[in-house]
Symmetry: C2
Subunit: 408 residues, 2 copies
């Protein structure tokens, strides 16, 4: 019975407390700012510090340019009018770079979490060696950084989103890219540094792209009370991520969430992962288009168009994929009992035809009998699985956690 | 981005700190006591408090009878010899009651986590109404409490383990018992109170039995560094539980872990849960015995005997179940990337025939390619899925967390 409430530590030193409280106040202003106007009094009430303490912390955040204030506002409560506080739209930021099979998307996010600059290029990353793909992504990132500078936004770090098993800065395996043991962070950082002579090198981190898309959904998706969910993103592959109590579940090796390789039929078609009959072979983009009789050129847009027009083959293809998704999801729901299942990527636009068969399987196969009664547990992603924004926001989270460390 | 480090609270008051530190010291003595002799100096070093503070806390724990001391011990380090401290073998304890399909097992655990009294009755709980089953369990518990009293052990609460979906004190659904919405805690508590006139009523809680077995494995199973694992227990049904970073994952409704109802074949045999082709229909006890051609009388002991004797049908039955387990587990491992998968209940004794096909499926189907390389990730439960001990230990955990609350 190694249950372990932590020992009550020695009283934290003053500097640590102040840095922590600066973070609290900054985040409170951001959170209130989403819904209305933040004042010193409102922030004090929210974080449980005195009005005087909050005023002093706000001054420091104004000084380092992380907050701005404007006009007078009347809170409706007794007392003096306050000025409205806002998180600064300039200064520290994060840059996220999603490298997927057939596109690269780069996003710069400001302190408020708002996406401010975006560059996306559609291209086939399967054709080129990993070093070249990462160098191309670095070129797009460098251009995006220039645009950000013009808006006086200064990313303090970069995060890469990659469609595979990512650990310790490397891609262990990305079957659909054909990558094995690629030191992605290093290759990208070196390429980016080479493009920005004289500039400070950016710290680079990397993460599975579905994990980042799930974080974007958690942070920006308006999920309300949903804190535990399973996130699926339909792409060339089928990516997945698990968020439990508002945190990513990474697993023992950092490889959790690989729902695309849950077996549907043990004797089914070979999968690039080495197994057979994985979900990806039934509900991935290639399988969907093939079943609908659409060649690469038309793509998912054409599939959506045909389904909307009532094309029987297209509807049947999506219905079949939805049924397979539902079966695999019913197992995952029996295992995890999440608040919700969120479908992103190409699934988002296909929900009208995908969701009914998936929901039917879930209703029939989830043991609690609560699947249908609760309602609304299967839902479309609100931001189309935006891994780049999630990546950029991951960098910004560091700034919000300890603003002083990023002041200049 | 609602990431939420908690505000640094006001300094905890003295009483809270002292109660917390009493818990720390008590648990330190228990943990050290598992491996060697605990002294005041050793405990002080372990918990990071001064020797003087620990001495004072130890005195209080000796006073209330939660610790005992004996003899002099030489630690091998400089300084005076200390006396060896031990967690008391009498006083506060926990009682756990596992009600399964074909048995009831009751266990009393002392402060050190040691099982001290055990009563198990094999009987068929499917035949009787829920109230009668719970009354019978209460009678067994009452007799066990008498035995505990003779050893001067005084359970401060009871925990029920039940083979189904348990929430808010009730069994929402237990397909193999045929229970729906049974207020198990209340029925059990009333029956137990009726059997112990004049005694203080015991607080009763309830939990899914696989969850409790997984906790027993975590606390007493010698799992070493394994902190995240998937636990399966083969019984009439197939129960499951997830432990993530040393904590049970309960899920949105408290129903997580139902791996027995992950679908293997969507058109397979009907399951009592209402779905079709669930894992339970291929790897549950009934399916195993049927495939081996063994009727109810012989049971799992007979299946083990025949497999050991090389009976082809018995070996094939277990092999087939292992293959199905492996397929479902590969999906769960792709989803969760746990440190280990632990098989308990009837699977424990069947491992020689069950484990090779399961491991083969896992090796072929887990995407990371790390399944086989890491080794030892599929393992037999060390305590045969002892839900009753886990239940009793759950009660004891409360005592260890705040000893003062349970002092008399």
């Amino acid at each position: 019975m190694k249950s372990t409430p932590a020992p009550l530590g020695p009283k934290a030193d003053k500097d640590t407390v102040r840095r922590n409280n600066l973070s609290l106040v900054l985040r409170a202003v951001r959170d209130v700012g989403e819904a209305g106007e933040a004042t010193r009094a409102g922030v004090a009430a929210r974080v449980g510090l005195t009005r005087a303490a909050v005023s002093s912390l706000v001054e420091q955040l104004l000084d380092i340019g992380f907050l701005t204030e404007s006009g007078k506002t009347f809170s409706g409560q007794a007392g003096r009018p306050g000025t409205a506080l806002k998180v600064a739209r300039t200064g520290p930021a994060g840059i996220g770079v999603e490298i997927n099979i057939d596109y690269v998307s780069v996003c710069v996010v400001d302190l408020a979490g708002t996406g401010r600059v975006r560059q996306t290029e559609h291209l086939d990353n399967r054709g080129a060696p990993p070093g070249e793909v990462l160098a191309r992504a670095a070129r797009i990132a460098a251009r995006t950084l220039e645009s950000a500078r013009e808006q006086d936004l200064h990313p303090v770090g970069a995060a890469l989103g990659l469609p595979g098993l990512v650990r310790g800065g490397s891609v262990h395996q990305a079957p659909n890219l054909g990558w094995n043991r690629v030191p992605a962070e290093e290759l990208f950082a070196n390429a980016l540094d080479g493009l920005r002579p004289g500039r400070t090198a950016l710290a680079v981190r990397s993460e599975n792209e579905a994990n980042l898309a799930a974080l974007a959904e958690l942070w920006f998706g308006g999920l309300d009370k949903v804190r535990s969910f399973l996130y699926l993103t339909g792409e060339i592959g089928v990516g997945g991520a698990l968020v439990i109590d508002g945190e990513l579940l990474r697993g023992a090796h950092g490889f959790a969430g690989e729902i695309g390789h849950v077996v549907v039929d043990p004797a089914g078609p070979e999968c690039r992962c080495g197994s057979r009959g994985c979900l990806e072979q039934y509900a991935g983009q290639a399988a969907l288009l093939r079943a609908a009789g659409i060649d690469g050129a038309g793509g998912v847009a054409e599939l959506e168009r045909r389904a909307r027009a009532g094309d029987a083959r297209a509807v049947a293809a999506v219905d079949g994929a939805g049924r397979m998704l539902g079966r695999v999801l019913s197992g995952a729901v029996n295992l995890l009992d999440p608040d919700a299942v969120v479908l992103g990527g190409i699934y988002r636009g296909l929900m009208p035809w995908l969701s009914p068969p998936a929901d039917e399987e879930l209703t029939g196969r989830v043991v609690s009998g609560l699947w249908s009664r609760d309602g609304g547990r299967l839902r479309a992603s609100s931001v189309a699985g935006d891994a780049a924004r999630g990546a950029a926001a991951l960098v910004v989270r560091d700034v919000l956690t300890d603003p002083v460390a990023y002041a200049w």
